[in-house]
């Protein structure tokens, strides 16, 4: 398929995704919105498979088949009350997929046209590290959110002294490693970057209380959008950029709206036990239990 044709197809797919999000914001158009989303995804996948660089279809069909079966079975079997943790679990998959895509680009830059091994363009390396780091944070953060919502881990905020200093330190180290990686294109540094990002994902979400988890899930959704956008810049793919920005900003707005609906400050939710040391932490844990935002939403949805 000619490059221009596939760019137009990607554009149509992007518009369908916008209409999907728009549809989902009103009960009258919600179902149509979901169909728009499915159509957009179908166009995106078919267009990519028709790309002249895509030649081996065996693993693609196998992968799509495995994913389709597992995904559909999970979606049909899941209890409606378990919805928030299901979405959290799904997010972790997107995060991991984004890390894998970034790694694939590092090992085979030729397939993406971003240079050759050892001489990948600097801009692409930056986008690659951003995508991998945010993807890894999305992955581990979503796992924690899932575990908290599922009751596998206590829903109480886990706070320890010096926590935010530790997070800050790890954050700085991640940025520093990222910078060296971009300069040297050293593969071990890439994996170190990914590993530390996994760790910081855990540490960021652990101090946030269980009742605030729906907000966190939406925020992680936003992260998964940003990582897709980073991948879009890396691959020079407009669809990934459009959808990434769309999901990134709508996820952030949605988490803000949800905070407002339960009378919580966005900042205090996102930072969890941050800032006020133990006093702040205990205020968070006392404030939590009566709100239970997730179940309130479920109830409304059923009415």
């Amino acid at each position: 398929m000619a490059a221009n044709l596939s760019a137009v197809a990607y554009l149509i797919s992007g518009v369908l995704f916008i209409m999907a999000l728009r549809g989902l914001s009103s009960p009258v158009t919600a179902r149509r919105g979901n169909y728009f989303g499915i159509a957009g995804m179908l166009i995106a996948i078919v267009t990519t498979i028709l790309n002249p660089n895509v030649l081996g279809f065996d693993l693609i069909i196998l992968g799509l088949g495995i994913g389709a079966v597992i995904g559909t079975i999970i979606a049909l079997r899941i209890q409606m009350t378990a919805m928030p943790q299901l979405i959290a679990a799904f997010h972790s998959l997107v995060g991991l997929a984004a890390v894998l895509v970034a790694s694939a680009a590092l090992y085979a830059p030729e397939s993406y046209g971003i240079g050759i091994t050892g001489q990948i363009k600097t801009a692409s390396l930056i986008e690659m590290s951003l995508g991998a780091a945010i993807g890894a944070i999305t992955f581990s953060g979503s796992l924690v959110a899932f575990a908290k919502l599922q009751g596998l881990v206590t829903g109480d905020p886990l706070v320890f002294p010096g926590q935010h200093w530790l997070n800050l330190l790890i954050g700085i180290v991640i940025v520093a490693i990222g910078a060296v990686f971009v300069a040297q294109e050293a593969i071990p540094l890439f994996w170190l970057l990914v590993g530390l990002s996994f760790v910081i994902g855990f540490l960021i979400i652990l101090p946030i209380g269980g009742a605030d988890m729906p907000v966190v899930v939406s925020m992680l959704n936003s992260y998964s959008g940003w990582t897709a956008a980073a991948a879009g810049f890396m691959l020079s793919n407009d669809l990934l950029i459009i959808v990434g920005a769309l999901v990134g900003s709508s996820g952030a707005i949605l988490s803000y709206i949800m905070c407002r609906a339960m009378n919580r400050s966005f900042i205090s939710v996102i930072l969890g036990g941050f800032g006020g040391e133990s006093a702040g932490a205990s205020a968070v844990s006392q404030g939590e239990k009566p709100h239970r935002a997730g179940s309130a939403d479920d109830g409304q949805a059923g009415n």
């Binding site: 999000l21 989303g37 997929a97 998964s224 990934l240 900003s249 709206i257 939403d297």
Partner: protein
């Protein structure tokens, strides 16, 4: 700046990126609270458009570590796509029946 009007493609991409951020912002503002969870689940499904990158990675004929990464990413993203849309459909069905 030799040829007067040569703009780096990156700038175009940046423009698309910024405009799409605004679209996402305005599209979601008016969502009704009852639809928060379905909206989250559909955005989640949509974000697995990252599968585009995975498909390209798995595209070459000869087997390589990148192709394996791509294959794994296809499985993960496909779980998300099918699971996300099906579960949204289920939620919305419940929503309509009661109305």
């Amino acid at each position: 700046m030799e040829a007067a009007a040569v703009i780096d493609p990156f700038v175009f991409r940046l423009a698309i990126f910024v405009l799409a951020i605004f679209v996402g912002y305005y599209v979601v503002w008016s969502v009704t609270p009852a639809l928060h969870t379905p909206l989250m689940s559909v955005t989640n499904a949509i974000s697995s458009v990252i599968i585009v990158g995975a498909l390209i990675a798995a595209g070459p004929e000869e087997i390589s570590i990148a192709k394996i990464f791509g294959f794994a990413a296809i499985i993960l993203a496909a779980i998300n796509i099918f699971g996300g849309f099906v579960v949204t459909q289920r939620m919305l069905q419940m929503f309509r029946k009661k109305k």
